[in-house]
């Protein structure tokens, strides 16, 4: 969306970087975006990513069933800046030993998630073409008919 000049002026007036406005609106758009796509929303329900670190890990047992477990195993403190602690239990992840393929052994068990209900409400065409209008000046909201009348009378 086109950033209005008055918002830019406001940010400058309060000694804030006007580009922060773009960051705020982008983050708000991102939150809305999560809700647009049921799988993405479901992933965020189970393991929201915060500052690049998953809040909780998904682990699989030998049968490949995923569950959200707190095994109390190795707790890795993320070094620098107080990011969320991750309880990583990758020792329990099944890893392909031979390089035959690189199939994932970790999977989400989505049957517990109400994704089917979400899918029923899925609009027919979500992946629409978006128009990037930030560089386009807004046009008048006057009725076209009156504009044509004026032009014709010139």
């Amino acid at each position: 969306m086109k950033k209005p000049n008055d918002v830019e002026a406001l940010f400058i007036a309060i000694d804030e970087d006007p580009d922060k406005y773009q960051e705020i609106t982008r983050d708000q758009d991102a939150v809305l975006a999560i809700e647009r796509w049921p799988l993405i929303a479901a992933i965020n329900q189970i393991s929201p990513i915060h500052n690049g670190v998953a809040v909780e890990s998904i682990v699989t047992d030998e049968t490949g069933m995923a569950s959200k477990k707190n095994h109390g195993q190795t707790t890795l403190e993320i070094a620098s800046d107080n990011k969320v602690k991750t309880i990583v239990t990758t020792s329990e992840l099944l890893v392909e030993e031979k390089f035959v393929g690189v199939e994932q052994s970790v999977s989400l068990n989505i049957s517990d998630i109400t994704i089917e209900n979400s899918l029923r409400g899925l609009p027919p065409q979500s992946n629409v073409l978006t128009i990037d209008t930030s560089h386009i000046a807004s046009a008048s909201t006057e009725d076209i008919g009156s504009i044509f009348k004026r032009l014709q009378s010139q």
Binding site: R26, A30, I40, I43, L76, I78, V88, F99, Q104
Partner: protein
């Protein structure tokens, strides 16, 4: 030397293309660069005009082990390449066995090359969990995670992040992760959404897009990189931008020709 591992959860997201083009940008800016093909597909060399009949590499013969320096070859733009080599099933199994015997094989072999302190080593790593990924992560000073802006990549983020956390975060020589969203086409809602979500959740300074641009594939079909094939293209600008962000993370300065302000 700084070792940058280029990894992904899913295949086909363009790791090799990213590795090759970043190698070229860093080389253009005066750095000593070694591009390592750690993928049995052995396709990195094709981005540098190396003879198709050149099949030698780090895994193509058991004798090479301990002598990786012998497998280094100069590609276009004077970038040094370490191919994986065209390998038989036996050779690959042997190589996997060697990796199993020595979890730090990759790092140790790179050290034996005696590269200068300011050298940048890019390691093109096969997709998904594997012994190759383990080796690459164990050696990495920086990890570049390649993705597409789609549900498939997003759904694997947590898993691949967990592997990086486990193998890299506790090391003092680990400088961080950077996410490259490859082939981004923002005219579609889904792609734009995933890119925005990743920027928000991972930090915009850690995410760099390479926009969908036909020049990239054309350049490859020409046997070269996009920076030379189409220097004014969107993809070229994006690769330069990514190299700037990555260089900030690994604490190196790039030359004037790639200065951010000129954009």
């Amino acid at each position: 030397m700084k070792i940058i591992s280029i990894i992904s959860a899913n295949g086909g997201v363009g790791k090799t293309t990213i590795a090759a083009n970043l190698a070229t940008v860093f080389k253009k800016n005066g750095h000593h660069v070694l591009a390592v093909d750690f993928d049995p597909k052995n396709s990195l060399r094709l981005h540098f005009g190396i003879d198709l009949l050149h099949t030698l590499g780090i895994a193509s013969s058991k004798q090479i082990l301990g002598k990786w320096s012998q497998a280094i070859i100069k590609g276009s733009d004077d970038v040094s390449i370490l191919p994986f080599g065209n390998t038989s099933a036996d050779e690959r199994n042997n190589f996997i066995g060697e990796m199993s015997n020595n979890p730090m094989l990759l790092k140790e072999q790179l050290i034996t090359l005696g590269l200068p302190n300011n050298a940048i080593v890019l390691v093109d790593t096969p997709a998904g969990p594997s012994p190759y990924l383990d080796q690459s992560l164990s050696a990495a000073n920086l990890v570049i995670l390649a993705n597409h802006a789609d549900g498939a990549s997003y759904s694997m983020l947590q898993m691949i992040n967990a592997l990086v956390e486990q193998q890299c975060r506790t090391r003092v020589d680990f400088l961080g992760s950077f996410y490259v969203i490859n082939q981004l086409d923002r005219s579609r809602q889904l792609a734009g959404d995933i890119a925005d979500i990743m920027s928000m959740q991972l930090g915009a300074e850690n995410v760099g897009p390479i926009h969908h641009d036909q020049s990239v594939q054309e350049a490859f079909a020409f046997g070269t990189d996009v920076i030379h094939y189409a220097p004014d293209s969107r993809a070229s600008m994006d690769f330069i931008e990514v190299s700037l962000l990555v260089s900030q993370l690994i604490g190196i300065r790039l030359g004037v020709t790639a200065h951010r302000d000129s954009f």
